[in-house]
């Protein structure tokens, strides 16, 4: 399993192919690969967005991402996972996040991929700041909201 923070633009499909090739002979037991790729929208809450900056908490972000992936692995017992998340300055259409899950069967792969992404959105310390034509603004919270605290 691999979790990475990237400071520069990345191509999720290139990353996926590279990681898949590293799996080598292990890939013969896998029957399913699911992936989610999140990209930057050029609009949000009814307004055009020109660019975005993604901030994170070095150290805590990696730790939380690993925990999210490991918890999901324990629950769904999938074979492998790759999570890559951008930070820094992004333009519309730039990839933000890649979540890929390899498993023997589709059910596990779909559910674990979705769960990792949702957990990431709620628990991984990243913050988006959008640049609109006339101002900047912090994104207040992700769709679906955030719980207040996580003991």
């Amino acid at each position: 399993m691999r979790v990475e923070i990237r400071f520069d633009p990345f191509d999720p499909l290139v990353e996926l192919a590279r990681y898949q090739s590293e799996l080598g002979s292990a890939s013969t037991r896998l029957g399913a690969l699911t992936l989610f790729i999140g990209t930057m929208r050029d609009h949000n809450e009814g307004e055009p967005v020109e660019k975005m900056n993604l901030e994170h908490y070095p150290g805590m972000t990696e730790r939380q991402l690993w925990r999210i992936v490991e918890n999901a692995q324990r629950r769904w017992n999938f074979d492998d996972a790759l999570v890559i998340h951008r930070v820094g300055d992004l333009l519309p259409a730039d990839p933000i996040v890649l979540v890929a899950v390899w498993s023997s069967h589709r059910g596990t792969a779909f559910e674990a991929c979705r769960a990792i992404l949702e957990d990431l959105k709620h628990r991984a310390p990243f913050w988006k700041k959008e640049t609109l034509p006339d101002r900047t603004r912090w994104v207040a919270q992700n769709t679906g909201g955030s719980d207040r605290r996580f003991p």
């Binding site: 150290g59 628990r123 310390p125 992700n142 605290r149 003991p151």
Partner: protein, 77 residues
């Protein structure tokens, strides 16, 4: 005791700094740290906190040398 305090995103902008060392006595919880850096006010509901890179609550104990962070709701992904 010394607590390393960090702020992120909108809170970093509001405080005008990303981090500071809080040197004070009588601090036992995360809530005490916030009060010390924020003129005695309680932690607002929308502020999240962490101690040594783990999510915490206002009641979480803090110790000399700990890193305490305050930040708004996360918006990654």
């Amino acid at each position: 005791m010394t607590i390393h305090v960090r702020y992120f995103a909108s809170l970093r902008e509001r405080f005008g700094r990303a981090e500071e060392n809080l040197v004070a006595d009588g601090i036992t919880t995360v809530a005490d740290v916030w009060k010390a850096v924020c003129e005695g006010t309680p932690i607002p509901d929308q502020v999240l906190c962490a101690v040594n890179l783990e999510y915490a609550t206002p009641e979480t104990p803090v110790h000399d040398g700990d890193e305490v962070a305050f930040f708004p709701p996360v918006t990654g992904g």
